[in-house]
Symmetry: C2
Subunit: 308 residues, 2 copies
């Protein structure tokens, strides 16, 4: 089986054939086994009891918000339970002993992998509705349909579906060295794989070559797909690749990146170690944290697990 990275491995049956049945979806809300994940400003509450987990609730306390039309998503079913996400608004809620409101990125490494994947699904959907309340075709307010998986326009009858934005993320490799870049936004020395959004009318392999050329001036030949990761900030699909670099001389666009350079395997191995540390040494090159596929692509190449 393929590598499963953070935010993948969702255990729910998405019931995508049944969720357009509004009466059935409504009946699930009457079932005492049904669980609701409220997101507050897109953040979940994480319970810290014996192990950290998402703070799933019964429907009861949330009935008023549901009835008043807050966005509700049928995430899926499993083991006789239906699971919903609810947009509980951006009201700050008090953390109590054992329950903490957390950003999804901070929560994900603490909770079970399946729960992190459900959280990714919930966060992407709630955020998409929040930013798509109007019909892009005619400008009228649109309404939620199909258990939260469609927005329907009552005026022009258009249907709108949640976005999944494919991103290519790649390590260009030449012999024993690989190409990593550093952006402007993050101070310090955190390097990562190059990456960029795909555009209409290209394949992922073409997007890999285009992005590496744009960001570093390096030409890439063969491209090999490795694995993918959902990235719910807000709704990306990170598709990971290795690419065979055909040239060596780097030319960066200084508006796009602060630095791009070649690293050998030993350097990347040291960066892998540093990026796992809670107390990184300032100034020494590091990688994104292990939850990011960019970390895993670089690690697997550096340790000889994947090759182009």
């Amino acid at each position: 089986m393929e590598e499963i990275y953070c935010f993948a491995g969702n255990p729910l049956d998405r019931v995508s054939q049944r969720r357009q049945d509004a009466a059935w979806v409504a009946s699930l809300l009457e079932n005492p086994a049904t669980r609701v994940l409220p997101l507050h400003g897109l953040k979940p509450v994480v319970r810290h009891w014996s192990a950290a987990s998402l703070d799933w609730q019964g429907v009861g306390p949330w009935r008023q918000l549901i009835d008043s039309g807050n966005t509700l998503i049928l995430l899926g079913i499993r083991g006789g339970h239906a699971f919903f996400a609810l947009d509980a608004g951006s009201t700050e809620i008090a953390s109590d002993n054992g329950s903490v409101l957390m950003d999804a990125r901070a929560a994900a490494p603490m909770i079970d992998g399946g729960e992190a994947a459900i959280l990714a699904e919930a966060r992407s959907l709630i955020d998409w509705h929040d930013r798509h309340r109007f019909c892009a075709r005619c400008g009228a307010p649109s309404v939620v349909a199909s258990g939260g998986w469609v927005r329907h326009c009552p005026e022009c009858k258009a249907h709108h579906f949640p976005r999944v934005d494919p991103v290519v993320i790649m390590l260009a490799v030449r012999g024993e060295r690989c190409l990593l870049g550093r952006g402007h936004r993050r101070p310090g020395a955190r390097f990562s794989c190059l990456a960029g959004f795909m555009e209409p009318g290209e394949t992922p392999e073409e997007a890999v070559r285009r992005e590496v050329l744009e960001e570093s001036g390096i030409q890439v030949g063969r491209v090999r797909y490795l694995a993918s990761q959902p990235w719910p900030f807000p709704s990306s699909l990170m598709m990971g690749f290795l690419g065979e670099a055909l040239t060596e001389e780097i030319t960066i666009d200084p508006e796009e990146l602060a630095e791009v350079r070649w690293f050998d395997r030993d350097e990347v191995r040291a960066m892998v170690e540093r990026s796992r540390s809670d107390d990184p040494v300032p100034g020494l090159a590091t990688l994104p944290p292990p939850l990011a596929i960019g970390h895993q692509i670089a690690r697997r190449w550096a340790f000889g697990i994947d090759s182009v």
Copy 2:
């Protein structure tokens, strides 16, 4: 290098770093080397001279439509020429001797592969603008920016980017047999790979397993990525996979598909031949035409080129 299917292999430099420079984009329109591809109701004109090709034009005849605000896309540059697509509206134009208004799907197999890829880029972008004239966040009319690659909302300041909708298309294989399905819309016996749109919070491999299970009741284990194809109807990215079927008994959702069944290699090879014929025998099973990645996935498995 990977397989290049129809609508892939775009030869243009998309100049995605430069196209936000409105003055530079405007200056390209003053250059006599610049070429415009008008789409009429999303259809290009194809010239049939010695070889079929897209009917690229100078800027001059289109200046009035451009100045009146019809959607204009900077497709890219190559060899000192800039290439634009223009939404010329849905006015039917008369075909003359040697110039025919054609659907993009009909045009693609006749013209050069690079031109078909440029046509895919043009069609997806023009169609996206046509269906996204209003800001989904606030409902106000939005305006074209960055050479046609962004819509900007003057009211709420949101930026909207063209959609690329990832689709998984897969052949589930068990030993010497593979799984193909037939939809309701198309009469006759055209079978194809199963396929479906990806959803937020899943990987392509997970989407392959979900779609095959939903559409056929078959469980899939290992999944192997093959190649991708842009599919500009309107803006899909078809990602092709082989999957290892773990079960044999088919249960279809009769609302989704009319028939799903197992085919052996000899049957699929015969279907490949029939799908290349201009005069198919009614009632005999066939495949989509060779331009579709679904045809190629089935063909390559049937002839032993790819295995799961």
